[in-house]
């Protein structure tokens, strides 16, 4: 599925399309900013929420404070910037943890099959029958506020999707001739599972997961807004929006800019996801018209 030439065609398609290039740029920018943010802050104390600047409360956007200041006088630009780091952590954490749980479950269920497989899939289906965010909200409410708790709550509501995806993949690969060949040659089941089936099943899943990071950010922001996600003074974007809510009439910028950051970041991921999805669709690839001949 992902032989080198297929990946190359995919990249060529992404490069050709200016919209998906935009997505790629945004995602790369997001990751870079997320990684370096803590080290490039101009007002780190305010960003982390430690310092207060009472005389500078509710300042509108200006050159000194591009995103204005909040009710404690903290510079919003710094806060939003640092928020990138937290969004990155959440995105990677949620998706990573969900994969960590989901992949083994799906892999075992798919490969072993039989009663074990069915039982595992039934459990997975029960999770999937839940309305998506409801479980996360309930869990987050129980576990209490906190960055780790938020990540865990979301990951627990997410893993069934990946388990199911892997299950379907493994099932279709399992019956391919070369797997039978491996078995006949006497390789142990575990070896077959890890060296042969897993790499092929993994690729579409990891691509999907990487692009799901946008949704993770969106959902975490929602949880923080509702008050069951990340606690103050952590400058998580969703939390920043909710904290700006009380003063929105006199200082719209406090809620506006963090929300805008969410929009742009998630947009980047979604644009890229769209492009990748089109690139992976074999029928679309065949039917594409080459322009200008």
């Amino acid at each position: 599925m992902s032989s080198p030439s297929e990946l190359r065609i995919m990249f060529r398609m992404i490069r050709r399309n200016p919209v998906s290039m935009l997505g790629l740029i945004i995602v790369v920018a997001f990751v870079v900013v997320g990684l370096v943010a803590p080290y490039v802050l101009t007002r780190p104390d305010e960003a982390w929420g430690i310092a207060y600047n009472v005389k500078d409360r509710f300042l509108p956007p200006s050159l000194q404070h591009p995103f204005g200041t909040d009710e404690y006088g903290r510079d919003m630009f710094n806060r939003v910037l640092l928020g990138t780091r937290f969004s990155l952590m959440i995105a990677v954490g949620v998706v990573g943890l969900a994969l960590l749980i989901g992949i083994p479950v799906g892999l075992v269920a798919g490969y072993v099959g039989g009663k074990v497989g069915t039982a595992l899939m039934r459990i997975t289906d029960m999770f999937l029958a839940f309305p998506p965010l409801l479980l996360a909200i309930a869990l987050a409410a129980t576990l209490g506020r906190g960055l780790t708790n938020t990540i865990v709550a979301l990951a627990i509501s997410w893993w069934p999707w990946y388990a199911r995806l892997i299950f379907v993949q493994v099932n279709s690969i399992k019956n391919l001739p070369y797997v039978d060949a491996a078995r006949v040659m006497g390789l142990r089941s575990v070896t077959i599972m890890f060296k042969h089936i897993l790499p092929n099943a993994l690729t579409p899943i990891t691509v999907q997961a990487a692009l799901d990071m946008g949704s993770a950010i969106l959902e975490a922001a929602g949880l923080s807004f509702l008050g069951v996600g990340v606690p103050p003074p952590t400058p998580e974007w969703g939390l920043l929006v909710s904290m700006g809510w009380q003063s929105i009439n006199r200082a719209w910028w406090i809620s506006f800019f963090p929300g805008l950051a969410i929009v742009i970041t998630v947009l980047g991921f979604n644009l890229l996801a769209d492009a990748v999805r089109e690139a992976m669709d074999p029928r679309l690839r065949k039917a594409l018209i080459m322009k200008g001949v």
Binding site: I9, R285, K286, A287, L288, I289, M290, V293
Partner: protein, 330 residues
């Protein structure tokens, strides 16, 4: 321009060239093909997969996918249909020329009954508004194609009918506007042998009864032999030989045609190895100049690297091969 029976030509392809634009390159599906079909005549386009035969059929029916580019002319009773637009186009498509496809199950919309789909076509082309009248016409047509229980077929969804029945039904739909030319794109390829014979018989009978011209597309010479008056042999987008069925089958001129005939297994002969032609088709994105069969041809010569024109070697029998250059003239 009248043929041996003095029949007028109904369809003429002049220097027809069709290209598909794809992400991996331009596919030269049909290269400079010229052909004439006369009234009440059935012509078979014979060739391997990739020879361009289906493309020609689709082009005449105006059913090509959007990434196809047509150059040259397709003249239906003298009018170039590649240039038709609007009202003139709608008088042509599906009305004067009709088409039946290879996969009958894929031809019908799975969410609508056969009756609904047939009614739409009948209403559109025959201008009939009355529901009862439309139904009567539909049942008539289904009976004509040999379907025993037309009322049931009308009420059925495509997945409820067998392949053979669906193919008959699609013939009924194709014939409902009383077309002058019917294009059959490998109509029996997906059916088993007994059904094949039945459908071919049906088509032959309908052709006689209705005075249809047919453009029959197939890769199977045996089928061509049964149904067609004339045979045109295509290879890699080029027309290699064309003549009456007897001429082409009993006295093949082009080396490719000869090889094709050798490959047809004979029922009465002793058990023999299945024959095939060694080699593969040239890459349609990068066709070589000259005769496309040259790499696989036993009788290839140096002159073959320049594509010879079609020469009329005998009356009504044309071939494009350097062996016959100078024997006739066209």
């Amino acid at each position: 321009m009248s043929g041996p029976n003095g029949r007028k030509p109904i369809l003429e392809l002049r220097n027809l060239t069709i290209k598909y634009y794809t992400l991996t390159g331009i596919v030269h599906a049909v290269r400079d093909v010229s052909l004439v079909i006369r009234e009440k005549e059935s012509v078979c386009l014979v060739g391997e997969s990739g020879s361009g035969k289906s493309t020609i059929g689709l082009a005449v029916a105006h059913a090509l996918p959007p990434n196809a580019r047509v150059s040259g002319q397709i003249l239906f009773r003298g009018e170039d249909v590649t240039k038709l637009k609007g009202d003139a186009l709608s008088k042509y498509v599906g009305k004067k020329v009709s088409i039946i496809f290879q996969d009958p199950a894929a031809t019908f919309n799975p969410l609508f009954t056969i009756g609904e789909q047939m009614s739409d076509v009948i209403r559109h082309h025959r201008g009939v508004k009355d529901k009862e009248e439309v139904k009567r016409i539909a049942i008539d047509l289904l009976k004509k194609v040999g379907l025993p229980d037309p009322e049931r077929v009308l009420k059925s969804y495509p997945h409820e009918l067998s392949g053979g029945m669906l193919q008959r039904a699609s013939i009924a739909v194709a014939l409902s506007p009383n077309p002058e030319l019917l294009i059959a794109d490998e109509p029996t390829t997906m059916l088993d042998v007994t059904l094949q014979a039945q459908i071919l018989d049906l088509l032959t009978k309908l052709k006689e009864e209705l005075g249809l011209s047919m453009l029959f597309i197939t890769h199977n010479l045996g089928v061509a032999a049964e149904v067609c008056d004339r045979i045109a042999v295509l290879y890699a987008g080029k027309l290699l030989e064309e003549g009456s069925a007897e001429d082409v089958l009993l006295d093949p001129l082009h080396p490719y045609t000869k090889k094709l005939l050798e490959c047809v297994p004979r029922a009465h002969a002793k058990v023999q190895k299945l024959r095939h032609i060694p080699g593969t088709l040239p890459d349609p994105r990068n066709p070589p100049p000259g005769c496309p069969f040259q790499p696989r041809c036993d009788e290839a010569r140096d002159e073959c690297s320049k594509m010879p024109p079609l020469t009329e070697v005998r009356s009504g029998h044309r071939v494009a091969c350097v062996k016959y250059l100078g024997e006739g003239g066209e």
